[in-house]
Symmetry: C2
Subunit: 237 residues, 2 copies
């Protein structure tokens, strides 16, 4: 059982999962939802309106047509999507994040945040300071949804590569969280993206590092005209 | 010419460099200094006492005995080491960093900070908040030495691997800074460590991301019993 900060307990969901992608019409949400469905999970694309969620679901379904073992996809309004799922992926902009998360029925669910609080100015991308440096989007979501269990993952995956490439991605995916069982859900989902399990990178507070790291990758992308991500070295020695 | 925040100008040094390693007796400083000397640069290992710096220099010199093209190494008290060098590597603990940096003759020099402000508690390693999230060790050094130009690099290199392995490291090294010419010095120095140039990861403020990223790697190291670092993917597509 997974204990939540509110003291409630959640039975860890087992694969294949039913995953609501909140913000499923954005590039990160659409790309990850596509990959999860391709990996055999059921995916509900959430959006502000059910119609927009359904439109993305149709686009993804067309892309998955004929892919053996693919899961089913559908669309719904964000809150309805969350209500149907055992795993909820938050793939929403940081601007408006708190209000949206507070409006969702997240109690009893495993919530994965890939939200990156970033700013942009004439010097490029940078990490926004959350709670005077003592917080992150993932920790904020956990505070707003104390009867859910929140993990952080998929922050640094290139949205372009998720959608435009068919093969598994080369990069590593880091997962942080305070519940090993909840991290296990995200770690297993990683296999739909890169063909191997995600890396357990520690406690939820390390989302403070994973989220703004995306600013570094954006900076590298602009300089070198690539779609960068990261790999962790040292596993083969 | 490199313009400093104080409005002075620095002529970019040319390789081979004379590099002072401040904190040269620590594992990161010793390992990087060894690699730089192996790569043909002159290295002065600085320490609180000249004797300790000299002892490390002797240890490194013994290691380099017979290595073709290696630079010369020596030891000195930190301030004396800085005074002799055109490039100064700050490889000191965050605790006491400000007082030490303020005491060094850094005007007119290219300064490379690999300082990681980290904390450790029973939940593992975490990034310390610098200037309420709006600062970093590298930016602090730049503020303390306005007639120097500071870049950040070598934050995430494993000290163990630097010293214990002889071959080039597999990982990528990220360099941040507000002066392209100063970054070029660090980027060139990377070749002594991994056999290729470092990656220009953007402006100095992104040191806020590179420095605490080391907490993520430490967390991975503890979980998987490895010496991890990072590679940037996307360069080959």
């Amino acid at each position: 059982m997974i204990s939540t900060p509110a003291g409630t307990e959640i039975t860890p969901p087992t694969a294949p999962f039913t995953i609501a992608v909140i913000g499923g019409t954005g590039p990160q949400g659409k790309g990850l939802g596509y990959r999860f469905a391709r990996g055999g999970h059921t995916v509900v694309f959430g959006s502000r309106s059910a119609e927009k969620g359904e439109a993305v679901a149709e686009e993804v379904a067309a892309r998955l047509d004929g892919v053996a073992g693919a899961g089913t996809v559908s669309g719904a309004a964000n809150a309805d999507a969350a209500a149907q799922a055992d795993v909820v992926l938050l793939a929403v902009p940081w601007d408006g994040h708190d209000e949206l998360v507070a409006s969702l029925p997240l109690a009893g669910k495993v919530v994965i945040s890939c939200v990156n609080p970033l700013g942009f100015d004439k010097r490029g991308a940078y990490g926004l300071v959350v709670d005077a440096g003592e917080g992150s989007a993932a920790e904020t979501a956990q505070r707003l949804a104390p009867e859910a269990v929140v993990v952080g993952a998929f922050h640094n995956v290139s949205a372009v590569t998720l959608w435009e490439h068919d093969g598994f991605l080369d990069e590593d995916i880091l997962v942080v969280g305070d519940s090993v069982a909840a991290k296990g859900v995200a770690i297993e989902l990683c296999a739909s993206v890169n063909g191997r399990q995600g890396i357990d990178a520690g406690k939820l507070r390390l989302a403070r590092q994973l989220e703004p790291w995306t600013a570094v990758l954006i900076s590298i992308n602009r300089k070198y005209k690539i779609h960068s991500s990261i790999k962790i070295t040292g596993f083969d020695h």
